[in-house]
Point group: C2
């Protein structure tokens, strides 16, 4: 393609609305423009990259017997009602009515639609297992879009759904899918993506893993180990902490006026937070009161807690706390009524802690959970911390990192096949319920993540497998002698070789050409200049490494062809190793 035919302004300045590298460079480089909050138009360079990412995903899905289908963007309300999610999912599910008043929604995920399809198509055990996938537009009405394509409202996603007749077969295929995901991330140029234990969230199901690119713009916190491969989303991550077992001592009251927090108490009593027990009161959606007891140096992981009650939780107010017989600010689990008490093992495994007394202005010394609140249920509800000991190797220390989710895989189980009454006839002629897995990759978010992981101060360097073009030709002084002729001929010859070439035919000053080239991030740059042409040479430069050199014009086509082939081979070789 000739640059003069490429529509899109390129900017020198950082746009005011952008803070992360991918967003900045993709606005500056003419890759995308905002249409509305969290809704973008992708321009030619971005669309070319997206098409390549999609093709790589498609090849990997086809290689594991995936069947590409296309489900609708607009989904009738009835299907969500059938699965029960119409009421479970909040306002992020966009709802509307058609001209006849029928309820419609914009698809944010397609479990319902795929089960609606599969239940009429796979009636016999012989039809199993199978996997259906699509690459399709989705909409999720996020409260806050951010980071350009990192978190948007409208996005393109590959969503895949597998159907099995046994848990064993689901688990077998789950591993096959995980390998395909690793190959995808390697092929699109971010092999460093890690697989992280995660929560299955609104999907239902029990086993779930997320693929995370560890980087500063990430919204997720990932628990990693300094010694082993432990990786978990902090939502489900576990840390081992030091316990303080002692011989139980009798309770002693202590006067602690005006202490409203653990910090106040520890300052007043000159003790460490790890020597206290903290009480946090919540209310379930059904209005039930919950007390979470945890050691004072830890935080409650509300996701872990909410999963115990299968309900979102909100903080209880003072009246509700008093109604249970507790005093706000001075509460503990002792003597409460009408309140479910969940205690983290951290409280149980340390003795003689300072805790609330349920009496105004008093705390107690020597709180011992097993003795003093024998009805508390012991469940891990702690948030893992930097420096905790790894629960897997028991050696390394936990390190928290930021990450962006670039894909996720779920073992859904029968959540949807049961609610939507999908069955098949088994070999023994009985009707059984199939078991599902589902597997997503956001295309645009991956595009942005590649840019996050592969850029310098001047712009992006796209991996050869997904670059909008493989080779760029720049000419310094297009008016000089026969330089234009040379460039046009080289452009034509490279294109005829099947190479993807963008040729800057605009006769702009070198500085502007190179600045825009850096933004476009094409892997190999060829520079034709008067000085080098005197020697019959052109200059080549690799965007990633900065490596450069000169090559005879006559040898240029071969050189480029070989270079591109080698770069592609390198990435493919790295993928094969992973299988």
């Amino acid at each position: 393609m000739k640059y003069s035919k490429l529509t899109g302004q390129r900017y020198k300045e950082k746009p005011a609305e952008a803070t992360c590298a991918s967003h900045i460079f993709m606005l500056r480089g003419g890759y995308m423009r905002q249409v509305a909050n969290g809704i973008y138009t992708l321009m030619l360079p971005a669309q070319r990259i997206v098409a390549k990412i999609e093709q790589i995903i498609r090849e990997e899905m086809n290689a594991i017997d995936g069947q590409e289908i296309k489900m609708p963007v607009v989904i009738p309300r009835e299907l969500w009602e059938e699965s029960g999610r119409y009421n479970e999912i909040g306002v992020e599910l966009l709802r509307m009515n058609d001209r006849y008043g029928h309820g419609l929604t914009l698809g944010m995920t397609h479990e319902e639609v795929v089960v609606h399809l599969a239940r009429t198509e796979a009636k016999s055990y012989k039809d199993y297992p199978f996997m259906l996938y699509q690459i399709q537009t989705k909409f999720r009405d996020e409260a806050r879009s951010r980071g350009g394509l990192i978190r948007v409202r409208e996005f393109t996603m590959k969503d895949a759904y597998s159907f099995h007749t046994s848990q064993e077969d689901l688990e077998r295929y789950y591993k096959v899918m995980a390998r395909a995901y690793e190959r995808i991330f390697a092929r699109i140029g971010i092999p460093e993506v890690v697989r992280v234990q995660s929560d299955s969230g609104m999907m239902g199901g029990k086993v779930a893993d997320e693929y995370m690119l560890l980087c500063e713009v990430g919204e997720d916190t990932i628990v990693t180990c300094s010694n082993c491969n432990y990786l978990a989303n902090r939502e489900v991550g576990i840390g081992i902490i030091e316990d303080y077992p002692e011989t139980e001592k009798p309770i002693e009251k202590v006067y602690t006026p005006n202490t409203k927090s653990i910090e106040d108490v520890t300052n007043l009593l000159k003790i460490a937070p790890s020597r206290t027990a903290k009480s946090v009161f919540y209310k379930t959606a059904q209005g039930a009161l919950v007390l979470a007891l945890i050691r004072g140096d830890l935080e409650v992981n509300e996701l872990k807690l909410s999963k115990i009650f299968k309900s979102e939780l909100v903080f209880a107010n003072d009246d509700e706390i008093r109604a249970a017989g507790a005093i706000p600010g001075f509460a503990s689990g002792i003597g409460l009524k009408n309140c479910t008490i969940i205690a983290d093992p951290s409280v149980a495994n340390s003795n003689n802690l300072v805790a609330g007394s349920n009496e105004q202005d008093y705390h107690i010394y020597n709180f011992n959970l097993r003795r003093d609140v024998p009805n508390a249920k012991l469940v891990d509800i702690a948030m893992a911390r930097n420096g905790d000991t790894c629960p897997i190797c028991s050696q390394g220390k936990l390190v928290l990192k930021r990450g962006v989710e670039v894909g996720q895989i779920f073992q859904l189980g029968t959540r949807y096949t049961t609610s939507m009454k999908m069955t098949y006839t088994d070999l023994d002629n009985t009707e059984k319920t199939p078991i599902m897995g589902c597997y997503g990759i956001g295309v645009g978010r991956n595009l942005a993540c590649i840019a996050e992981a592969r850029h310098d101060a001047k712009g992006i360097f796209w991996p050869i497998t997904i670059a909008p073009w493989q080779v760029q030709i720049n000419v310094l002084n297009l008016d000089n002698g026969n330089l234009k002729e040379v460039a046009e001929k080289l452009y034509l010859e490279l294109t005829q070789q099947g190479l993807e070439v963008i040729y800057d035919d605009r006769n702009l000053p070198a500085g502007q050409q190179f600045a825009e080239a850096d933004l476009l991030g094409v892997p190999l740059r060829l520079v034709i200049s008067p000085r080098n042409m005197e020697k019959g040479q052109i200059e080549w430069k690799v965007r990633t490494t900065g490596e450069s050199g000169f090559i005879d014009l006559t040898a240029a086509v071969n050189f480029v062809n070989e270079w591109v082939k080698n770069e592609l081979a390198k990435i493919n070789a790295s993928c094969s190793l992973q299988q």
Copy 2:
């Protein structure tokens, strides 16, 4: 692919809900399933065809400097308000609010979004001309979906938009686009698609052409000529009729009780309908009364009429007709007040017609428009008829045919660039308004139309360029001797040649295998049977022509490779000729 891994039931019976061939066969053959009214899921065979159609469209758009982009499905209300279409377009534009109450719509066409993009990106005359296109999901809340993929609510469309600095340049590019469209229809296997003059409808703009596949399931009526190439949508088509010029005679009243229609009057007075003038009253959206006068043997073309008033028209009721001084059933243009009178030339060019008298139970003889209603505006508002004389060659007779619109091209002009204040700086430093064209092709509708045009009683035969697979292998009696081995080896070898093969590995009875193969419409079928294998041969059969023969197994791979290459070359050769 192996048939055993293809998800989807195939049916022998015609589904109750389907009436046209494409719908019947695509349901029976497991290509698609309905999700809601006018909303479908495409299954693997259909998705494979769609991907090929899209790729052909993409190649042809890229070849004429089109830049593929991706605009959003969800469009903010503000953009439609800016162009003025938010109120112009009716309920077919689906509207909703996001979580913050901001108005959103589902894109049914993207003029607004593309102008929103282009107005910041193409500020200088140097940036012109350019063409942006996308292949993207659209939604139109049709009152009546029908014919499977022929008329749906959610559909994939290629929509392209070109921007120019002069009308001449738009006209030049319009021809380039028309040639690209001809190549697309030829390459996807329906070269018989014709280009038809059409109305530009809600798009605005003046020049518009539709591409039509003439076939019985079409909703449009196309005016064709028995002698020349005249082709027009009946909405804009013109027919030349026989006039009856005579010397004007004086008006005579005639008693015509209980005559409510032209038919009643002509029966009573024993005259031909062409000897009468018909009066039809309408009301504009603004409430203005309109009388359309036309010869009794013709029908009013309401689209032509509505364009005069730039308003949709509804029939006036009796009270409104009386208010203008006319008598319903006995009305004419004589002596009316507060009423705009539009007369078709057919009334002006025949004399001494029978017309209403504006008196109950009376008509008049010898109505002469120019004398009796001198204030009538003469405009062509007639519906062209079968047998009218062609307005182009003046020799042939018009023949009305049914057609399905498979694409359309518009010269939009400055309808959107003006309303949305898009300008560029011209060479002389003045700000000017760019001129636009827009060009659409519905992907799914083309898929359905190919099926309409290419089927027999047993199923579809897909053109080689878009077939879901190029070759199908059937085995009669897979258990017999080494037939399975032979088939697997042939499947592997053909696949390794880059051919797209579907292999029926299910060991079903021959009848069922062939019935399903006919539904799948793969161009070349290879049959491995015990009898032929005794001679070391396999049978081949061409789906389209029924042509068949035998080939030595050892020569089969070469044979198939050559056959596919030749079939593809034939279509490509036919396209080159058109350029």
